[in-house]
């Protein structure tokens, strides 16, 4: 792994250089206080010191809404949407969002490969950047350091006001061909960034907790404050559920089939024909959502499916904190263990 110095003032030059290779997407200010990944037109508009974007990179590979096919009854035909693979550079990605893409890869490629996702995803290039954890980030607690470089081609680690630029593979070094001469770093200074927001247990112990808290009172307490708006689902970088619907044209003889993000916190999600709903209470829905992040897939894959980005908490209108939920479940688990064995877990 090679490492070079990159001055902060050279970052716009790097962006301009990359733009010549492929379209570049990077964090931009959106609204007064929010950020989103947008295509870079002016390097000066890119925000490097952002806390988190509203939507993760998921929106590029599994768009919020997309057309799957068009049909015509008159012509008796169906035309599937053609997706051309495109080389795109995603610049300024935080480690937890990269890890979320790797988890999505698992969901979308293993078992039933999802062609639209794969076509949009396959030529993506990722350039990471370090971040200062705020009150909501807790990725360290789910095993993702700020400087975790898995999945990236290049990585920028901020040191004081400048960056260490790590070249992580051949794609990464190819990107820098023809870019200004970089000065190698001789002694890499390593430092740990502190997270204020934490889970009480190492993530290895969390699946064990989840074996005992299905009937915990924590779920009911959360439900009292939850309005079921689905923000936590839709902003989660590893949620991938969608609904499929037909949009008929006014001639009622042709139309298109679309898919759109869905979420298990929403009422229609578990509703079936006849109006039955398998999870008609908010406490059941929150429980399902959190089990999906810390138990069901985690049991199979060994890592939490939550990446600790903090979006579900930062954007929850009711101020419900995921780390509080999990920590309260841990407390509940400890109380149960103590009641059973007299030993503090």
């Amino acid at each position: 792994m090679e490492c070079y110095h990159l001055a902060q003032k050279a970052v716009p030059d790097l962006l301009e250089h990359l733009k010549k290779i492929a379209p570049v997407y990077a964090p931009h200010q959106k609204g007064e206080k929010s950020y989103s990944f947008e295509r870079v037109t002016h390097a000066s508009e890119v925000v490097l010191d952002y806390n988190r974007t509203m939507l993760s990179l998921k929106k590029f590979f599994l768009p919020p809404t997309e057309r799957l096919l068009q049909y015509s009854i008159q012509k008796q035909n169906v035309v599937e949407e053609e997706i051309k693979p495109e080389k795109r550079i995603f610049f300024g990605v935080h480690s937890y969002d990269m890890q979320a893409v790797l988890r999505l890869d698992h969901n979308m490629i293993e078992g039933h490969p999802e062609p639209n996702y794969i076509l949009r995803r396959q030529d993506a290039i990722f350039i990471g950047i370090s971040f200062e954890p705020d009150d909501y980030h807790f990725s360290r607690s789910v095993g993702i350091r700020v400087e975790e470089m898995e999945g990236f081609d290049l990585f920028l680690n901020k040191v004081d006001t400048n960056y260490y630029l790590f070249i992580l593979n051949k794609e990464g070094s190819d990107l820098l061909k023809g870019f200004q001469k970089l000065k190698a770093v001789k002694d890499i200074v390593r430092f740990e960034r502190n997270f204020k927001n934490k889970l009480k247990y190492h993530y290895n112990r969390i699946p064990e907790v989840f074996q005992h808290v299905y009937h915990s009172e924590v779920w009911q307490k959360v439900a009292e404050r939850c309005v079921g708006c689905g923000t936590c689902n839709l902003m989660c970088p590893t949620c991938y559920c969608f609904d499929v619907m037909d949009d008929v044209a006014l001639d009622v003889k042709s139309g298109e089939r679309r898919r759109q993000w869905d979420g298990c916190m929403l009422t229609p999600f578990a509703e079936v024909a006849g109006g039955e709903n398998f999870r008609d209470k908010y406490e059941q829905r929150t429980r399902h959502r959190v089990y999906r992040k810390f138990k069901y897939i985690t049991d199979q894959e060994g890592v939490p499916w939550c990446v600790g980005c903090g979006r579900c908490t930062a954007f929850c209108p009711a101020g419900i904190s995921l780390t509080d939920i999990v920590n309260n479940l841990i407390q509940d688990y400890e109380n149960q263990q103590y009641a059973k064995t007299g030993v503090v877990a």
Binding site: S34, V227, G230
Partner: protein, 244 residues
């Protein structure tokens, strides 16, 4: 045979009906599928029976009750159109004020000449088959319902929050910015048109089924409203549902 379609209005501003005449690009295509047999704002003819009836406005007087029963008897499918018909709308704000005072304010000394009732959605009196929500009713939503009915399918109900549509558009959250937005409990289907341009949601489409009202009031009080003010915000279009 094309379905016979009629429009009727009750207590409301008639904006939802007018909204349909504004379908300038689609109006002719729409009319190709149906026979319009009664529509006071657009034609003189009337009819005795209807396949699909659209009803706008809320029920607010004994004569409304009589008339809606009559319309219902003559309609195969009845669709409530817009906030007043679906939720009672802003008319229902009168329900939360002393009725004598309301009558006096509106009719002065003639108040005893006009019988009145609390404002109610159409569904409080007769069975309603489908709904098009919003103030005014949303045109895309109406088109969805219209096409579904023409094809004999069940129209979409959007029983989820406006927040969902904001997230799909990656709109900046107005609550996060400190605005008083009812998006978390208001029914979607509007493509989050107001928050999309920075205008907070005021709940014109009614609430999602089984709304957690206490939690929503708490969200609003966290933003600086008193409980009373928070409830009043919820009541703007929904005083029938959110009675005190």
């Amino acid at each position: 045979m094309k379905p016979k379609v009629a429009f009727f209005d009750f207590t409301g501003c008639e904006g939802c009906q007018l909204n349909k005449l504004n379908f300038e690009n689609e109006l002719l295509d729409l009319l190709a599928h149906v026979d319009l047999v009664e529509f006071r704002e657009a034609m003189d003819e009337t009819s005795d029976e209807y396949d699909i009836t659209f009803v706008e406005g809320s029920i607010s007087s004994p004569s409304c009750v009589e008339r809606i029963h009559d319309i219902r008897r003559r309609s195969k499918i009845l669709v409530a159109l817009g906030a007043c018909a679906v939720n009672g709308g802003i008319n229902a704000m009168k329900n939360i004020q002393p009725i004598e005072q309301v009558r006096e304010t509106v009719y002065g000394q003639d108040k005893y000449r006009f019988a009145t009732l609390p404002a109610m959605p159409i569904s409080a009196i007769v069975a309603v088959d489908y709904e098009v929500r919003g103030c005014p009713m949303s045109q895309p939503d109406f088109l969805q319902l219209f096409k579904a009915l023409v094809m004999g399918k069940t129209p979409p109900t959007y029983n989820y929050a406006v927040c969902v549509e904001c997230k799909l558009e990656e709109n900046e959250c107005l609550l996060t910015k400190g605005q008083i937005c009812l998006g978390p409990v208001t029914r979607a289907g509007c493509q989050a048109i107001c928050p999309g341009v920075g205008q907070a949601c005021i709940g014109c489409r009614g609430f999602v089924e089984g709304m957690n009202r206490e939690a929503m009031v708490e969200i609003l009080t966290e933003k600086g409203l008193s409980v009373d003010e928070a409830v009043k915000r919820l009541q703007l279009f929904n005083a029938y549902e959110v009675a005190v």
